[in-house]
């Protein structure tokens, strides 16, 4: 009998702690598949954030470093610059990457640091129980915006892919989603490209992945996927925001 579905080698054989319907598991799997396909597990180092994916260091079989909240791109810079032949990726949520770690994000992008950033945007702080994120939508109800995010007091969501694509430093920036099979396949292609760019010494690549948080959104997993499509996608359009390689 032929095997049609198997665990990627780079993904550790341990139960993930994520909530039912959370899309972190899918993205972990995609990253691990890409590491397998490129045959780079032995020289890859992942940098885990603070947030729901804090335990990512237990979920990948490559070497892992756990960073302080928001500092993953700086830590990744240190790891990469220590051994430039290694492949270094960060895996960060929206609070980590776009709030407390904005400076590290912008400057690693600006330097064109040859790392790969996987950015999970689910418009909420998950681990601490559902507070407003920098990417929370206008009107979105969270624990700290109980009357909805109001622009007068909480301003507007930060569009990371759009913002970073204004810089000269980054090589490749794409926003994808993992709400259906087609989009998951596209996400995989983008993640693979983001790692291949690093292997080829091209520089900073970031893939923003629109993801769901059914628990803190107060929705069922299926409703959460609908909410992502209906509410997040209009604000965060999918697509390639920067690809220096397209002109090469």
């Amino acid at each position: 009998m032929s095997v049609v579905f198997d665990r990627p080698k780079a993904l550790a054989d341990v139960p993930l702690h994520y909530c039912p319907g959370c899309t972190h598991g899918i993205v972990h799997r995609l990253v691990a598949q890409v590491i397998d396909e490129l045959g780079i597990e032995g020289k890859t180092i992942g940098v885990a954030p603070v947030g729901c994916s804090v335990f990512a260091y237990n979920y990948f079989n490559c070497d892992m470093v756990e960073a302080a909240h928001g500092r993953a791109p700086a830590v990744a810079t240190g790891v990469k610059r220590a051994n430039p032949d290694n492949i270094v990726f960060t895996y960060q949520g929206d609070g980590d990457l776009a709030a407390i770690g904005t400076a590290e994000t912008v400057h690693s992008a600006g330097r064109g640091e040859n790392i790969t950033v996987i950015f999970i945007n689910n418009a909420i702080y998950g681990m601490t129980g559902g507070q407003m994120a920098p990417t929370s939508l206008v009107g979105q109800v969270t624990q700290t915006t109980p009357y909805g995010r109001k622009t007068e007091t909480q301003g507007y969501p930060i569009k990371v892919s759009e913002m970073l694509s204004q810089l000269d430093g980054p090589y490749y920036i794409e926003r994808v989603a993992v709400d259906n099979v087609k989009n998951i396949n596209n996400a995989k292609k983008a993640i693979k490209k983001a790692f291949e760019n690093q292997v080829n010494g091209k520089g900073f690549s970031l893939v923003e992945v629109l993801s769901t948080c059914p628990t803190n959104w107060g929705l069922s997993p299926i409703e959460a996927l609908d909410w992502l499509r209906d509410n997040m996608m209009p604000v965060y359009p999918l697509g390639v925001y920067k690809d220096k390689g397209a002109n090469e």
Binding site: G42, T44, C62, D63, A68, V79, R81, N83, H107
Partner: protein
């Protein structure tokens, strides 16, 4: 051996490179910017890396990354910048990583001033950041000692897998003195960095560099282990210098450049027949409490001299433990005490002790 006239900041940078530190992450701040300037010039010529980070916070986290990857890494700053690095240093301590952090101390609090100070003693030795942890803190008092202790700092960091702080003041950073560098440095026998995250090469289980332990008993066990290491360091790594303490009635305790000023005051007092001695802590942590405690059995009085409102004096008092009087003289905010000021305080104490 070649003798070079060098500024403290540059001598430390050169010593770090010679000690095999090939990753330096800096951020400009007075009065230590010469370290970065020197590194930026020299590193590319020796196959190393100087990077100017976007902040002190990023710089220390880059150090964290490079240290995790198994290479010698360093950052330097001055007081306000060290406060910003504090978070990262706590993570480095919690992840048992070796690195060297230089603090060329200036007056504080807040933006404070840019003149020499020693008001970061508490920060360096006791409360740098959250959690139970220690740094080894080395306090040179000459440019030659800056060089020697920089080599030592990297070895200590690697031997014990912990952050080491070199602490000086603006004077030490800025002044020039002749120095020599060892032609061939024989460092300590150091363990291999089998824990480094430099790629499994598919030959070993993955390494994880981490400071998060959700299970309290597991975290407690690790912290207790770390404190056993600290106890060992307290037994083996204490460094100090003494002068004239055998017959001393008044014992000065001072570190860094202030020890040199204290020494001048001591000599002036000795010339007038007052029995004054000096204990100069070289390691601020571990603090040389045993020699102070022993000396206190005979001496009448201790005088801690600092460029602060009185920080190290608390450790002197603890070490003396009621066996003698403990006095303090200090100037702060970037004001350097003169030998005469210290001398006058000695006279005051010696007079009172009669």
């Amino acid at each position: 051996m070649e003798k070079l006239l060098m500024k403290g900041n540059e001598a430390i940078a050169e010593a770090a490179i010679r000690a095999g530190c090939l990753r330096f992450y800096g951020y400009p701040i007075t009065p230590q910017t010469e370290v970065s300037a020197y590194m930026s010039k020299k590193m590319p010529k020796v196959g190393g890396l100087f990077m100017q980070a976007e902040s002190e916070i990023a710089a220390i986290n880059m150090v964290y990354g490079s240290a995790a990857a198994g290479v010698r890494a360093m950052t330097s700053s001055s007081s306000p910048g060290i406060s910003l690095k504090a978070e990262g240093i706590s993570y480095i301590a919690g992840a048992d990583l070796p690195c060297v952090v230089l603090n060329i101390v200036r007056g504080g609090p807040g933006l404070g001033g840019i003149q020499p100070a020693q008001s970061d003693y508490f920060q360096a030795t006791k409360g740098l950041a959250h959690g139970d942890f220690q740094l080894v803190v080395l306090a040179p008092s000459s440019i030659q000692e800056c060089v020697d202790l920089t080599y030592e700092a990297f070895d200590i960091a690697d031997q014990y897998r912990m952050p080491v702080m070199l602490i000086g003041d603006g004077m030490l950073g800025q002044m020039m003195e002749p120095v020599t560098f060892p032609e061939e440095y024989k460092g300590r026998d150091l363990p291999e960095k089998t824990w480094a995250t430099n790629g499994t090469q598919m030959k070993r289980k993955h390494n994880v560099v981490n400071s998060l332990y959700i299970e309290p008993n597991e975290l407690e066990k690790l912290v207790v282990e770390r404190y056993k290491k600290y106890d060992y360091i307290k037994e083996t790594e204490v460094k100090y210098e003494t002068e004239n303490i055998k017959d001393a009635d008044v014992v000065l305790v001072a570190y860094g450049t202030i020890a040199r000023i204290a020494k001048s005051a001591m000599q002036k007092a000795r010339n007038e027949g007052i029995k004054v001695g000096l204990i100069r802590p070289i390691t601020l942590w571990p603090f040389p409490e045993k020699i102070i405690s022993e000396t206190a059995k005979k001496a009448k009085s201790f005088l801690a001299v600092e460029m602060s409102m009185g920080q190290m004096v608390e450790d002197v008092r603890l070490a003396v433990n009621g066996q003698a009087d403990v006095h303090f003289y200090g100037r702060t905010g970037g004001v350097i005490p003169t030998p005469d000021e210290v001398y006058n305080k000695i006279i005051e104490i010696a007079g009172g002790a009669k």
